[in-house]
């Protein structure tokens, strides 16, 4: 692949040393654009970092809820994660296939599962949480601890505000 750098030959306009790979100025002024770009890149980094474990980011969400809040019915888990129940089927299939999650029928309501982590699942999520921490640390690299805390607080209050506007989990489904 040739780089966009020195191709001022036939003068494809843009007069000279014009770098094309920079984000458009008009968009960089927009905080929302920056935020979505940062979170997109953070997500991509997380996906890549998780890959060697055979996991994807969406698996992480499921595991982290199970380890943090105990067994769930598939439906309830989906509701907490704002994932449709038909989508949950495949997701849990994958996690079960990896041996990380176990489907047990709930004896009190045999329509439901009682999804729980296996021992391997517990080990895996603890590894994955370390990966998440590492990636987040890399992403927030330029910020000192006080700034990171501040960022977190600001995002929390922004999110709470959106929530009050009844546009939080509801709106995403």
């Amino acid at each position: 692949m040739e780089t966009e750098g020195s191709r001022s030959e036939s003068g494809r306009g843009e007069s000279g040393r014009n770098r094309v790979n920079l984000p458009p100025v008009a968009l960089v002024r927009n905080t929302g654009f920056l935020m979505s770009k940062v979170s997109q890149l953070a997500r991509e980094g997380f996906e890549r970092a998780l890959e060697p474990m055979g996991l994807q980011a969406r698996h992480y969400g499921v595991l982290v809820v199970l380890v943090g809040e105990g067994p769930h019915a598939q439906r309830d888990l989906g509701e907490k994660l704002a994932i449709d129940r038909t989508t949950m089927v495949g997701l849990v299939d994958e996690l079960e296939g990896l041996g990380l999650v176990e489907r047990r029928r709930d004896p009190e309501d045999r329509r439901r599962y009682d999804l729980a982590l296996t021992d391997a699942g517990k080990r895996t999520i603890s590894e994955a949480e370390a990966v998440a921490t590492r990636v987040q640390d890399a992403v927030l690299g330029p910020l000192d601890n006080a700034e990171r805390r501040l960022l977190h607080e600001m995002l929390t209050s922004v999110l709470r505000n959106l929530d009050d506007d009844a546009r939080f989990w509801e709106a995403s489904r």
Copy 2:
């Protein structure tokens, strides 16, 4: 693992004050999760606010570059926006159909277009920029001006850092 509240009774129905629609605690601790949630909701709000104009957020990006940086070849525009050239075809089709953008052949290289805003396009983007400002203002509502500036700066430095890691526009394509 009590966290499900008072779920031990056989009551199926979210008995009483147990809200399921809150984000899992383990995820709310994660700055990356917060950021992606905020930007997702901001995006959704922006899409909704743009809808009455018959526009989508991705149209906005195209228009804003054209108004800010003048006419572009379709390919170059796509490169700036990290949008594949095959995807650009349909996008520009739509904008042309709305009468906001004009496809003129570049006389110096007849393979290329010289995409430019029509007068209607100029009016529309100025409206859309007002909408963007309004939405961003609503999203950042809980933050005062100093905090907003700070947030913007932090995001900028984080993004620059990711860029230096050669994972900015490259990685998203």
